[in-house]
């Protein structure tokens, strides 16, 4: 039990490794609770999902009587029309939400970076959407978009921009953009907080030096501020992308995936397959595919984070 022995080389065979593990046995006690919880709630579900994805589970059949069907579930998914519809929805949803939320959040962080009267109040107001529950947010916006009594429709009619209130979430062409607006409303504050934290680490001397050298505001931002924020930006964008890819509540509560699947994204579709139509096998196969895609995200996530680690170690 040594505090910070420093990294020793990892050469040597199994025996030294085992000895090292034994020497550090007390250290594991600290992480054991965390790891145990993680194992129960993560490792087992992943194993079970992969197993179930190779079985057919007709409705009305007990789950333990499932029928082995090999990769049929996968081929059925990839050849179905709805798969491609849902995938394109998910891509639009994830890319648009992530990009716009990040840009808006970053811009807010920059605009709030300089001290002025009322800054704290503005910051507090801007953060609120991120804090309130997505269920509450969904209901608020559902009411705002309401096709008869919604306030946006009413404003458009009052100003003569529309004859009658438009259908925002009951129309195939507008439902996805309308939901993305809600999602961005809830997520840009997260990007703002992360980037505000990042901005505080940009050294003032560098900015002043650049100013003395005659750099204008844009050049100072692009050549000094932004390079300092590259790591934070990567982590923020990845976290946003993953959260968007995995979002469920907003489409589920506001539209349930409708009208005619126009707002179904992967997660809502999987949920409906599993809990709506009891097709656990297909839903599990979907989950495994999703899992593989997320592993790709995960690879970049770990790389971004371990970029932090390396710098940390050398500092």
């Amino acid at each position: 039990m040594t505090i910070l022995t420093g990294k020793t080389g990892t050469r040597g065979g199994l025996r030294p490794l085992l000895r090292k593990i034994w020497e550090h046995r007390a250290d594991y006690a600290y992480v054991l609770p965390a790891i145990a919880v993680m194992l129960i709630v993560i490792a087992y579900p992943i194993y079970y999902t992969v197993e179930l994805s190779f079985f057919n589970t007709p409705p009305g059949l007990q789950l333990r009587d499932k029928i082995f069907v090999g990769v049929d579930n996968y081929t059925a998914i990839l050849s179905s029309e709805i798969f491609w519809k849902v995938t394109s929805n998910t891509l639009i949803w994830t890319l648009a939400s992530t990009f716009i939320a990040f840009v808006l959040g970053f811009a807010c962080a920059l605009a709030l970076h300089r001290d002025f009267v009322g800054r704290g109040v503005l910051r507090a107001i801007l953060i609120i959407p991120w804090v309130i529950s997505a269920v509450a947010a969904s209901y608020i916006w559902k009411w705002i978009y309401h096709s008869d009594f919604g306030i946006i429709g009413a404003v458009l009619v009052q100003f003569g921009l529309a004859d009658r209130p438009p259908n925002f979430i009951d129309s195939v062409s507008t439902v996805l953009p309308s939901l993305i607006v809600v999602n961005i409303w809830r997520e840009f504050p997260f990007a703002m907080i992360m980037m505000m934290a990042g901005l505080q680490t940009v050294p003032d001397q560098l900015l002043r030096a650049a100013k003395v050298d005659g750099a204008n505001a844009w050049q100072r931002f692009w050549h000094v501020t932004f390079p300092h924020l590259r790591n934070v930006s990567t982590v923020t964008i990845l976290l946003l992308a993953v959260a968007n890819f995995n979002s469920f509540i907003i489409p589920w509560i506001m539209t349930g995936g409708g009208p005619s699947n126009a707002s179904h994204i992967w997660i809502t579709h999987i949920y409906e397959l599993a809990f709506g139509r009891q097709r656990w096998g297909v839903a599990s196969a979907y989950s495994v595919l999703l899992f593989l895609i997320l592993m790709m995200f995960g690879y970049f996530y770990v790389r971004a984070l371990s970029g932090n680690e390396r710098k940390d170690g050398s500092a």
């Binding site: 993680m38 009267v117 509450a136 505000m196």
Partner: protein, 296 residues
């Protein structure tokens, strides 16, 4: 907004000859963002103090003609059935969130400390394995977890929620706290141990107080996450008296689809605790993110 601008200009000692386009752009942008953020919430509040009849009008009453607190009275009155349900959902949410918060601090603090201080084989692997939890959506875990919870007899109990909520709060908690411990000089602990403290005493008396902002931030994050969680609560709980607020409200208003003032009042009441908590403690949260996660 104009007073803000004047004060900002006065605070600036250097005289500006030309209009600073970037700053004006920033101000206009901020006004736009504040409207985007605040107007939906203002409309929620205005709707919640209308009667059901007044809410269903076209063109709408921009300002309620006869403001009424009837929706709030209905929701918060323990005498009628609606109020009874709503208050029960509220306490359920409070219980689950508080238990989750306390447990995640208890589990995350030692884990983060170990990841920061000790070098044991597999340390990096375990650290990233914990972080990877954030990558996976709840839906993947729903079915197997439901079966697991049934096997260990936790279905339809709040325990099932607390156990699952723990795991999605933990990764960020451990990550944040590890950053904090990395920044606390190890010499402080060594000095304490030379003075005769045990490692545990050094941890409790030296390290814990220094990492208090991180622990507060972790606690806020867990609490808000648990308070707002929907999918697991929606799937794991079926008994009406156990529902938490998000699910309870959804169940309740899928039966009364036209009671928008009631729905807005419920959304407002549901948002109050987390918003107040966050606004009171937000400086810790931003500081923890800066020191724990970003500054490396």
């Amino acid at each position: 907004m104009s007073t803000t601008a004047e004060t900002a200009a006065r605070g600036q000692p250097r005289r500006r000859m030309r209009v600073d386009g970037w700053r004006w752009g920033g101000r206009i942008f901020l006004v736009f963002m504040v409207l985007y953020t605040a107007l939906p919430m203002i409309w929620m509040l205005l709707t919640s103090i209308k009667s059901g009849f007044a809410a269903m009008q076209f063109p709408p009453q921009w300002w309620p003609d006869q403001p009424t607190l009837a929706s709030y009275q209905k929701l918060l009155d323990p005498q009628n059935s609606v109020g009874q349900d709503f208050l029960r959902f509220f306490w359920n949410s409070l219980f689950v969130s508080t238990a989750t918060t306390m447990l995640s601090v208890i589990v995350a603090v030692p884990a983060a400390y170990a990841f920061s201080r000790f070098t044991f084989p597999g340390r990096n692997f375990l650290f990233f394995a914990v972080l990877l939890r954030n990558m996976f959506p709840a839906v993947i875990f729903l079915v197997p977890l439901f079966i697991l919870m049934r096997a260990i007899g936790l279905v339809n109990t709040h325990g099932s929620l607390i156990l699952t909520y723990l795991t999605f709060g933990l990764p960020l908690a451990i990550w944040l706290l590890k950053g904090f411990y990395d920044n606390i000089p190890v010499q402080l602990e060594q000095a304490a141990r030379i003075d005769g403290a045990t490692r545990f005493q050094a941890f409790i008396l030296i390290v814990m107080p220094l990492s208090a902002p991180g622990i507060i931030a972790t606690a806020i994050y867990s609490f808000i996450g648990a308070w707002n969680e929907y999918i697991y609560a929606y799937t794991f709980l079926s008994k009406n008296e156990q529902l938490t607020l998000p699910v309870g409200i959804q169940r309740f208003f899928s039966e009364n689809t036209t009671d928008f003032p009631g729905l807005m009042a419920a959304s407002f009441i549901m948002s109050v605790p987390v918003v107040v908590l966050f606004l009171v403690l937000q400086r810790y949260f931003v500081r923890a993110l800066t020191e724990g996660a970003v500054k490396h």
